[in-house]
């Protein structure tokens, strides 16, 4: 099955991009192509002019470890402490023994960095709480702290605000963009909310049925293009 078709685009370091499109448009697959958790069946994905499909397992894992991926909050391990979920961000950069040690008893340096990042995302006091005692929005911040703990070159976020209310969603996306800007990280974030894209992202890419519908500066994209993106196929089931 082809998920994405005729996709040609270039992302510059430090760019701030929103991927917009209805469910099933291929947004997640697109993001996973970027960090090498999915390889293309045809075509190429180059990061720093290296083809991810030609990398051996070790180098591919190294590529992944340099890209922070903010998952939805339910991807965290619920029944361990917040600190363990954050420190897990460096699992790809550690030996097996180092990984076991850091998960069972993190070093002072790990704790300091984890705490600093949690303070940055606004939940510094939750360091030693059990993750499933946190609210959905707080867990999403833990996911962001984990991605930052990787000390990545780029941040990818897959619908990070899918399960929080609109006011918190705006806060979270604002935080994500701020953190990316202050660290000089490239940010690619998939979203459903056009208003959030317009407010926070310089560039928007519209995906529909695996194809790019538009790609450009967010403020130059006409309103009809957004409407077309979410238009339902079946006229009979249209809401309006």
């Amino acid at each position: 099955m082809e998920v994405l078709r005729n996709l040609t685009l270039r992302i510059e370091p430090g760019e701030n991009i929103a991927i917009i499109g209805p469910s099933g448009a291929g947004k997640t697959t697109f993001l996973r192509l970027l960090n090498g958790t999915v390889l293309p069946t045809s075509g190429r994905v180059l990061s720093d002019s290296v083809d991810s499909a030609e990398l051996g397992p070790t180098h591919l894992r190294r590529l992944r470890s340099r890209v922070g991926f903010v998952h939805q909050e339910h991807a965290l391990v619920p029944n361990v402490r917040v600190v363990q979920n954050v420190v897990a961000g460096k699992l790809g950069q550690r030996s097996m023994w180092g990984a076991v040690r850091s998960m069972l008893s993190p070093t002072r340096a790990d704790l300091d960095l984890a705490h600093e990042l949690l303070v940055r995302v606004g939940i510094g006091d939750k360091l030693f709480q059990r993750t499933d005692h946190l609210s959905g929005g707080e867990r999403q911040r833990v996911a962001l702290a984990r991605a930052l703990f990787q000390e990545p070159d780029a941040l990818l976020a897959d619908e990070p605000v899918a399960s929080v209310d609109p006011a918190r969603a705006r806060d979270l996306i604002g935080l994500l963009c701020e953190v990316a800007r202050e660290r000089g990280l490239t940010l690619v974030c998939s979203l459903h909310d056009l208003l959030l894209a317009q407010e926070f992202f310089g560039r928007s890419i519209g995906l529909r049925e695996g194809r790019v519908q538009f790609d450009g500066a967010t403020n130059e994209i006409p309103a009809e293009a957004f409407d077309d993106l979410y238009r339902l196929e079946d006229a009979g089931s249209r809401a309006r």
Partner: protein, 299 residues
Amino acid sequence: MTSTAWKTRVAVPARRPGPGRGAIVVGLLAALGLVALWALELSPAGLVPLAGGRAIAADFFSAAWQPATEYEGTAGIDGSFLLEILSALYRTVIFAAAAMSLALVAGTVLGFLASSTWWAGDPALLGSPLRRFFQSWLGPLVQGATRILIVGQRSVHELLWALLFLAAFGLNTASAVVAIAIPFTGMLAKVFSELLDETDPESAHSLRAVGASPIKAFLFGTLPRALPDMSAYAFYRLECAVRSSAILGFFGYPTIGYSIRLSFENLHYREVWSYLWALIILVLCFEAWSAALRRRFVA
């Protein structure tokens, strides 16, 4: 408004689904149960003792409320009866704990090998032919062999293993421990592998995205999520091991079953009941302990 609502109401489909296959299976199972009761000519009359047995039954059950605190027949026995109960309990727990510690290690290893999540490789990492061979041939082969081994261990009860070992190696401690450990390994492995496979794989996937190898993703993503259920089940099996260890005493191993048999053969029913109450209290203690642990895991 109301008239359009009426017009757009959707009719119930003419063909409703009849009783499904599930209902038929449940019906057949119920019938099987009834047939079994009929075939065994089971009736409550069987529990009413014959005239001669009535006195024995009365003796036995009335002893339940007055368990012995010292030996009933004092001839030739030194030492405290209560101490003997405690040491019989101790030996029972020791046998169970030894068997469980073997079963837990072996059951965890086999449980990993029998689960699909352990072998679920990373599709994007299948570069070399060696890895591909590992993924598509060796993995399924080891997994299948492990599952067959587990079924073999489980299908023979620990009492049968004990009988076999008794015949082969004679009455020694190791054969009792191994007899319990074998089927318990199989049961732990089966349940562990199922719990691991039912765990939400999302955590492991998110760890692969940070560059963790499939094994690290399993150990730090899947395993911690399954651990509360796995330890609750292990605790339940420990309780079962205590009961099995007690029963092995009837074959002559020095657990509480041996003491019960001796007292029973001497018609010392009050002693029997002392042992039984002690066993019940022990199992209740285990139950309280595991409930406390469960609360801590869930909270």
